[in-house]
Symmetry: C2
Subunit: 209 residues, 2 copies
DNA sequence: CGGTTGGTTGATCATGCTCAAATTTGGTGG
DNA sequence: CCACCAAATTTGAGCATGATCAACCAACCG
């Protein structure tokens, strides 16, 4: 991971802003680096080259809701305003390519389909948060991640349990308990903290509802 | 409400499809009529002329999540696909105007800002469902409705308690209890089932977080 | 009036949260 | 390679919020 040393940015969770953001080509962010912050001026939209990004919002008392994770190839940074309403951070060492200004009307034909995809994703996530229980949420989350990673048995989890809980509207303890339960039931295996192997695909799908 | 009799559609909750949908100008839907259904081919996007629309998704066992309410002037019907992933129904007698095909690239410059607005709305709703308790959800809901209706003290609730609960990820009983509590605390008044008067605006805002 | 629909209230229960510990993991230096 | 450490995760016990189940009530309409 030589690129970490070559990028002139601070390292560490919730670290300082990346100096490379305005570079014309892929910007590199170490784990925890902020890509943009709430209130900051929108520079356009981005595509993840490698790594993973979390987009989230905070309540005054610190409660956090992650609205989306973005993996390699996916777009993020859509805003209705000229100012960001959310935070975006690199989850692990991540490369991000600026794509276009979101208010560039020449580009809107290209941007609209991506924005609509984000919208459908968010709406489907609403169903999960509003109406599914803890097991269903985790099962849906794993199924979704697996799909986005090509449907392989071995799912890569770039994010921590805390990130997962803030994405699913649960606590870290509940996430951990559900993982343990699924493991005990032989639905998944946990080779290490950052990957999940799906053993019983059908059971997982049924749990997701 | 003479237009109900003049429109050749069935009346009643979850009623049959409106015959007027393909008309070039505003289509009229009675309370409960379906505007489009999951799996149905997308015809484009719509603007609410008057009345109110609920957009929702169902789980296999009947659990429902309303992803959005749309009031007069607002747009809905954005989809990433050529097929609808959600249901849309008139909440009360409602007029709906078809605006454009969502895959019409000439229109994308006009459509993109509206789609982005829907996206931000959905993402903010995620924060409510994922991280706020029942009182906060109701307070946020009332605040949002008030804003969209011009910020007046008297809020019009076109939707039932059941709709509200399916929007906020609560049960109808919890919605009712929170309304009663806010009334007892002097934050709101309930002149009738379909309106709310905000008495203590600041308290409501603080509760919404 | 009687019936139906939608809403409120009460009592009990269960899911998931909180607080507290134990344990595992991954990294670091000997 | 191994011991050690800090951070992350897992596990446990008790609790609280909101769900469930069951009456009750009010408005509306034939």
């Amino acid at each position: 991971m030589a690129f970490i040393e070559t990028s002139a940015v601070a390292i560490g969770p919730y670290g300082s802003r990346a100096a490379l953001r305005s570079a014309p080509l892929p910007a590199l962010y170490p784990a925890g680096a902020e890509i943009y912050g709430q209130g900051e001026r929108c520079r356009g939209i981005y595509q993840v080259e490698f790594g993973a990004v979390r987009v989230y919002r905070l309540l005054a008392d610190g409660r956090r809701q992650i609205t989306a994770f973005h993996l390699a190839g996916e777009m993020f940074g859509f805003e209705a305003d000229t100012v960001h309403h959310f935070f975006a951070e690199a989850i692990c060492a991540t490369g991000v390519r600026p794509i276009a200004a979101s208010n560039d009307s020449d580009q809107s034909g290209r941007i609209l389909p991506m924005a609509l995809k984000s919208l459908v994703r968010a709406q489907e996530h609403l169903l999960v948060l509003g109406r599914q229980n803890a097991v269903e949420r985790i099962a849906a989350f794993l199924g979704d991640l697996a799909d986005r990673q090509g449907g392989l048995k071995l799912i890569d989890l770039p994010m921590s349990r805390t990130d997962i809980s803030d994405y699913l509207g649960l606590t870290i303890e509940t996430v951990s308990r559900v993982f343990s339960r699924l493991k005990r039931q032989g639905v998944i295996r946990l080779p290490n903290l950052r990957s999940v192997e799906v053993v019983n695909w059908q059971a997982l799908q049924e749990m997701a509802g």
